[in-house]
Subunit: 407 residues, 2 copies
């Protein structure tokens, strides 16, 4: 069950210049919506980040090449099949789907970015996609975000959307985004699919900088199971249709406000992915302060956030601080002084002076663990850096979901 | 359930000069045997390796210091309490237990090495240990290995012992060892407790070299859950009582035969730990060949062996080769060429030419997955190095065992 997430969508503000269409092309065995077209008005610019997995999927290769050649006119997204580990024929197939959509929309195939998510290693069902494309194109409308959202889900239980209108210097800017993902989630680029659009006026270069920074602090700070997917990607499209001057300067106050909002939107989406993590019953933030570098803070945070022993203890609502301490200890931080270390569960200090805090009681820990949202804070007390990652617990259902995924 | 492991002990050959005693000191809540004394005849030499966890337990600190000062006369081992994360009082307690045993045996406290395993962060129950020590000392006998084995177990389901008599150049040498461990298992020094003894005549320096090399290739090649314990240690004691010349030369044929046998004994013990891994239903070997270095082979092997997605697929007997490929891809090997990669399940080639092998059928994969012992072989085809690690699957029971451990 998703942790603290509503099943209902928030109010969705359409983004001028973005047209979404979706259909059930029967790629998914369960017959749910699985094929999405997201078209952008001419003049839109798109930034993207992709998985670092060396065995990344065919659509990732194709999307990177197309993005380098042209500004995209549309995204083509299918769920139910990842088109990953499909060799040369997977590349041919990914390009072919772009050609088909380009023919429908009257543009070049290089103006299409393909995205796939689902089972690895099965060939794309090309006939289904060819037929489905026509229906998805016909379905396009400015307010079909929820329909598109349904079409990118796989093991997700709830849809994940964030939408808002902000005002910068008297100009309204709409930002609306959706994301999918609940397994094979680990920071190393986006670990999921995320599609965010805005009507802001902004240069392509600045948009890419904005996306890269936002992804670093949002999607690249979440982990469910430590497995980086072969298909992760996140795009940010700016349709340039808002009534505002074009943002061109990374140091302008307008850009800074905009970039901060994009980071907040992506952080919300990223946290939603964790809250809907496979089998999740707890949402856990792991904050590491006082590190000598960003890298060592992340080392410690990931050691704790990925520890199956910590995650199963969280599932059991067991304040087993010894496992947290052991994970910190094995994180590989050089010359770590256990006697300077402090660990907090919520506001309760559980570790101090090399062991259990003298004033800590099991009841205090259990009080914190009752909550669905649990904050672990680790004070290394050796430097000025801080990092936070978000994860979920490890439950029976995680095993069940992943043992039964293909059957 | 342990995977392919007998509940019965093998024939145990006592080691001349090693006296073992054990008792139920009520450190464990279930009243089982939990305190062990392992005494060595004067003249014995002992080598040891310890956990690299920066938050290592008090007995690890004390054992290291004592070993640096004196050749041990005895090991003092308790289960049920790890004496880890117990701060300064944990150190005082560990030293005090050595003093008590030294008083019983008539030696110096520095001649005692303490070892603890069990729950982290609870103070050692000193009264129980003081009383129990007397009983354990009184219980000492050359053939009490099984009794001692029972006393070092925690969540282990089966005892883990290997014992044999080898003959080198006409001289019989006995090697007998025991190990415990089934959770918080990840290579970085021994990730468990292991105590091996032999009557061989060998110098202290050569014995340490022998142990270090054997541990590297055995206990440091297993992983259950990626969590390195705070208390891991492995000792190898040579009582010098065999009728043979003293081994002093690392290049002598005698030493090479002996060292190879020690490595085999430790590998058997290590694999037993994996087979008894918490919740294990499958024993999985991950062999990586054709790497440019040992490090990159291990990187790939651990990425696969630690992937919860791979491990849950193994639990489900699902030949989900896509997850194996994805794990290889995210292992972080630079310039990995997916098109040169080959992956085998048993003898069946499942991945070739960047995707599913063209002649692979799901039936072939399922046939391999039916077995309790599954071999994954990854051919990187870019160098001459090979490494193998052993792990187990991830089951409902892993979650259950670790969610309920303290309750």
């Amino acid at each position: 069950m998703p942790v603290g997430l509503a099943y209902e969508l928030p109010e969705i503000h359409p983004v001028a210049g973005v047209y979404l269409g979706a259909t059930a092309a029967k790629i998914k065995k369960n017959g749910k919506t699985d094929l999405v077209v997201m078209e952008f008005a001419p003049g839109s610019v798109t930034a993207a980040t992709f998985t670092t997995n060396a065995c990344c999927a065919a659509p990732v290769h194709v999307a990177k090449a197309h993005l380098a050649a042209e500004q995209p006119r549309a995204l083509l997204i299918n769920s139910g099949n990842a088109n990953a580990a499909t060799g040369e024929s997977g590349m041919v197939n990914a390009k072919q789907t772009c050609q088909w959509l380009a023919d429908e929309l009257g543009c070049e195939p290089e103006e299409i970015l393909p995205f796939s998510t689902g089972v690895i290693g099965e060939p794309l069902p090309m006939n289904k996609i060819q037929l489905g494309l026509v229906a998805a194109v016909a379905d396009r409308a400015i307010d079909h975000w929820p329909h598109a959202m349904a079409g990118i889900m796989t093991t997700d239980i709830v849809p994940k959307m964030v939408s808002r209108v902000i005002n910068i210097d008297g100009h309204d800017i709409t930002i609306t985004g959706m994301a999918k993902g609940s397994g094979m989630i680990h920071p190393n680029m986006a670990t999921m699919l995320g599609f965010v659009a805005t009507d802001a006026k902004i240069t392509a270069e600045l948009l890419q900088a904005c996306l890269s920074q936002a992804v670093k602090k949002s999607f690249n700070r979440i982990t469910v199971d430590g497995d980086t997917s072969t298909n992760d990607a996140c795009t940010l499209t700016a349709t340039q249709q808002a009534d505002m001057p074009t943002m061109t300067d990374a140091n302008s106050p307008q850009y800074k406000l905009f970039a901060a909002e994009i980071e907040r939107v992506m952080t919300e989406l990223a946290q939603m992915i964790v809250r809907d993590g496979e089998g999740a019953t707890k949402f856990i933030s792991v904050e590491v302060n006082g590190g000598e570098s960003e890298a060592e803070c992340l080392q410690v945070a990931h050691a704790v956030a990925l520890s199956p022993l910590v995650k199963t203890a969280m599932f059991a609502s067991d304040p087993n601080w010894g496992r947290i301490l052991a994970a910190v200890g094995r994180a590989g931080v050089k010359n770590l002084d256990i006697n300077r270390l402090q660990i907090f569960l919520g506001d309760v200090c559980i570790v101090r002076d090399g062991g259990r805090a003298s004033d800590y009681t099991e009841e205090q820990g259990q009080q914190v663990m009752k909550s669905e949202d649990i904050a672990v804070r680790i004070e290394l007390n050796r430097g000025q850096h801080s990092e936070t990652v978000w994860t979920c617990d490890f439950s029976y259902d995680y095993v069940k979901i992943n043992a039964e995924y293909r059957s």
